[in-house]
């Protein structure tokens, strides 16, 4: 009688190891393909190189006055009460108001001039002094031309204010401290239908009301300006921002507006009782280059009738005025393209060589294999993206400052969001490509799909595709995720070409990012389902 020998049993733990071992296995696969590691490093380097290309500008020069030395600097950009960059250029017919009081005017006409487009050079890089008055102009009123009454902390650019105005095409508005805008009745002004405006100060509270006949008044709004001094500058103002062209590549045309005020009546203590005119912002360094102006304006007075002409804007600064962190991250497209190829290869190469069968034999739970791959790939691309973005941002920042360019003030939190968001873009693009790879299993198709989804919407922005169509692509495709890189705020009360090329995206940063995440989740879910159902 012989006993049958006990069958062999492996001493290794059952179940093919835990998730950690799986992660380790996938990391080893990723790490040991030399071409992939080289591609990952090159992707990061290209992002930095592109930051250098994009920010290594010619130096900007400005001259403070006719006799002053020319220095490397940017035109002066005032900061508003809460620290944001603003435009504060207008013609101000003012006098001092002590304590509480009010000013009432009748606005009987508002007309304007628009510079004829002569194909002038790029803005923001010019070093001309002020604005030339020889340029040709045609009659026309821009939609956000503003004329009305204003109470302002001082005549210093960027100081606090509240203004009640009639605009070119947006009716009566009460605006204050640059970023705030309250809409009143939508009517325009003409000699046939004049409009009365009244702005009163009571302590910190300023109230604006308007009337069509000077007898029946409706309140437009009441706002609080904390910290307004006892003596303020108050009076009439006119300004007119550049006309934004409908075409993407055309440059804006400067404009000016002229308003007729009469029946000016004052209440309260106005100690000097004489009006003086001032072109606010006209004497600042590089005036007229940041926001193109048409002349510096002026006023004529006959009794209580005033004709005031002004050009410029009282509004938050947008676009061309300066640069944002987005400028240093133009190379993200190049990096993303390489990361997409990597993500696709990370799984399609296994299908191509049949290695995927070994992977699934070693770890039969296929979803866990996909999860491990996604984690390894996501972490590696996130790390490279983060390092590249950090270097690109600090390099771009330094180069732009050294060449005398203006950088928008950006909070540390926003800068952090842009930096981490860029790294997350890398990771999500790679993982999306990985999921597509698991779905399609063909390298060429996956890479092409990934590149088309992430890069093509931005390429189309420079094509003949209408801007509205581009905006829809940036809402609906994974390219919506680029919104996470936006650091500027879109203001409905400022006309500007709010396009991706200028750093503005149609969705809010986190909303756009959520769209991208949704695509990633959808693709991963579909890949997970197909992996379980299909043969490998």
């Amino acid at each position: 009688m012989s006993t049958t020998p006990a069958p062999y049993r492996s001493n290794l733990p059952a179940g093919g190891g835990g998730f950690l071992q799986l992660l380790h296995a996938e990391w080893t696969k990723f790490r040991t393909v030399r071409g992939w590691m080289v591609a990952l490093v090159v992707a990061g380097l290209l992002v930095v190189l592109m930051a250098y290309l994009a920010t290594f500008h010619h130096q900007n020069f400005v001259q403070a006055g006719p006799g002053s030395p020319v220095v490397v600097a940017h035109p002066f950009v005032p900061l508003g009460p809460s620290g944001e960059a603003v435009t504060d250029t207008f013609y101000f017919v003012h006098q001092s108001l002590q304590g509480n009081g009010s000013i009432t005017v009748r606005l009987s006409s508002l007309t304007g001039l628009i510079e004829q487009s002569s194909g002038s050079g790029s803005l923001g890089q010019g070093h001309s002094q002020g604005s030339s008055s020889q340029t040709q102009a045609r009659p026309g009123l821009v939609p956000w031309a503003k004329a009305g009454i204003i109470v302002k902390d001082s005549t210093r650019q960027g100081s606090a204010y509240a203004a009640l105005m009639v605009t070119g095409a947006h009716g009566v508005r009460l605006q204050y401290d640059y970023t705030h805008d309250i809409a009143g009745p939508p009517a325009a002004v003409s000699t046939a239908s004049a409009r009365w405006l009244r702005l009163s100060r009571f302590g910190d509270v300023l109230s604006g009301s308007e009337s069509t006949d000077g007898a029946h008044w409706t309140t437009v709004g009441s706002i609080r300006l904390a910290g307004l001094p006892q003596t303020v500058q108050a009076g009439l103002f006119v300004t007119s921002p550049p006309l934004v062209p409908s075409r993407v590549f055309a440059s804006p045309s400067a404009s000016s507006a002229t308003a007729f005020f009469d029946q000016v009546s004052l209440a309260g203590h106005w100690p000097h009782n004489t009006w003086s005119g001032l072109g606010v912002g006209a004497g600042s360094v590089g005036a007229g280059t940041v926001t193109p102006t048409l002349g510096t304006g002026g006023f004529r007075q006959a009794g209580d009738t005033f004709a005031v002409t002004g050009s410029g804007d009282i509004a938050p600064a947008v676009g061309d005025v300066g640069y944002t962190p987005y400028e240093s991250l133009q190379g993200v497209f190049v990096g993303l393209l390489m990361v997409i190829v990597l993500g696709a290869l990370f799984i399609t190469a296994e299908y191509r060589r049949g290695l995927i069968r070994s992977s699934f034999a070693a770890s039969p739970r296929r979803g866990r294999v996909l999860a491990a791959k996604a984690l390894v790939l996501g972490a590696a691309t996130f790390a490279v993206g983060l390092i590249a973005a950090a270097i690109a941002l600090s390099l771009g920042d330094r180069l732009l400052r050294a060449t005398g360019n203006y950088l928008y003030p950006v909070s540390a939190l926003t800068e952090l969001r842009v930096m981490l968001g860029t790294a997350a873009l890398f990771a999500l693009a790679a993982v999306l490509a990985l999921a597509l790879g698991a779905i399609l299993r063909r390298g060429a198709g996956v890479v092409a799909a990934g590149i088309v989804l992430f890069v093509l919407p931005s390429v189309l922005g420079a094509s003949y595709l209408p801007t509205s169509a581009e905006q829809w692509l940036l809402r609906l495709t994974p390219a919506a995720g680029y919104a996470i890189q936006q650091s500027l705020v879109r203001y409905p009360q400022v006309s500007y070409a709010y396009t991706a090329a200028n750093g503005y995206f149609p969705l809010a940063p986190w909303a756009g990012f959520a769209v991208l995440c949704a695509y990633g989740a959808l693709a991963l879910g579909l890949a997970f389902m197909l992996l379980r159902r299909r043969d490998a």
Binding site: M50, L53, A54, F56, H57, H58, S246, R247, Q330, G331, F333, V334, L337, M338, I340, V341, A344, L345, T348, A349, R352, R442, G443, A444, G445, V446, V447, A448, I451, V452, V455, L456, S458, V459, L460, A462, S463, Y464, L465, P466, T467, S468, A469, W472, A501
Partner: protein
């Protein structure tokens, strides 16, 4: 050459992939073109918009599918080792590449004709409804208009050249995924890099040598003189890129083991 051609034609004809790619080329090109035309409004665009160019916007997308077709023509043979059988059957390696170029170039041209004419037809049907009428100074899109005919013929040739460029790159790098990455990088990233470079002089030079920007100059029917490169000259630049890629691919195919 004839047996090699017949062989390549049979290979492409008898698998499902290429026909789906050709169908996708046509439908995606026409779809994006129609989307572009449908979102244009005369009230926003004003006078002087290049309607032909607008109607052919879909080529930006269609070329990616044509590039896949060009790449997989040889890339899939490398992936599955069929290339060894092919080269055993037809030992003249340049003959093989030439036959592939003729077949895939011809298919791309055929798809291009349908895609481009379909896009133009979509523009012709959609645009007048959005204010681009004779009353506003816009003529109906028509092939009898010289520059429009040039844009259409040039766009069809553009498709063919993209297929050849992709074939050349894929022959050189032997991997479909890497090849499509290189081709689409060449096409899409050049204009992005050109836009980033702040110097206008360099920007113009980059636009003159970029395969996509130069090649698509042939679509312009208005303000031709303000373009960085002339219409046919631009298509010539793309042809030079395709020829260079094919040449490098042919040399490597000749010199390397498979």
């Amino acid at each position: 050459m004839r047996p090699a051609l017949h062989c390549e034609w049979t290979k492409l004809r008898t698998v499902a992939g290429p026909s789906w790619l050709l169908l996708a080329t046509v439908s995606l090109t026409v779809a994006l073109s129609a989307f572009a035309a449908a979102s244009a409004r005369h009230a926003q665009a004003g006078p002087g918009l290049d309607l032909t160019r607008l109607s052919l916007t879909g080529i930006y997308l269609g070329q990616a599918i044509v590039a896949i077709l060009g790449v997989v023509t040889i890339g899939s043979e490398y992936a599955f080792g069929v290339i060894r059988i092919t080269l055993a059957a037809v030992p003249g390696r340049w003959t093989v590449l030439a036959a592939k170029a003729v077949v895939v170039g011809g298919l791309a041209l055929a798809a291009g004709i349908v895609a481009v004419l379909g896009s133009l037809l979509a523009g012709r049907l959609i645009l007048p409804g959005h204010g681009f009428t004779v009353a506003h100074g816009y003529a109906l899109l028509s092939l009898t208009h010289g520059p429009t005919l040039r844009a259409v013929a040039g766009s069809v040739l553009y498709f063919g050249l993209i297929a050849l460029l992709s074939l050349g790159v894929a022959t050189a790098v032997r991997s479909s995924a890497a090849a499509i990455g290189i081709v689409l990088g060449l096409l899409y990233l050049f204009p992005i890099i050109a836009a980033v470079v702040p110097d206008a002089h360099w920007q113009r030079h980059l636009q003159q040598i970029a395969p996509m920007t130069a090649g698509l100059a042939v679509q312009a029917t208005a303000n031709v003189h303000s373009l960085p490169i002339s219409p046919w000259g631009g298509l010539g630049v793309l042809a030079a890129w395709a020829a260079a890629a094919l040449l490098v691919g042919a040399l490597l195919l000749k010199l390397r083991d498979v």
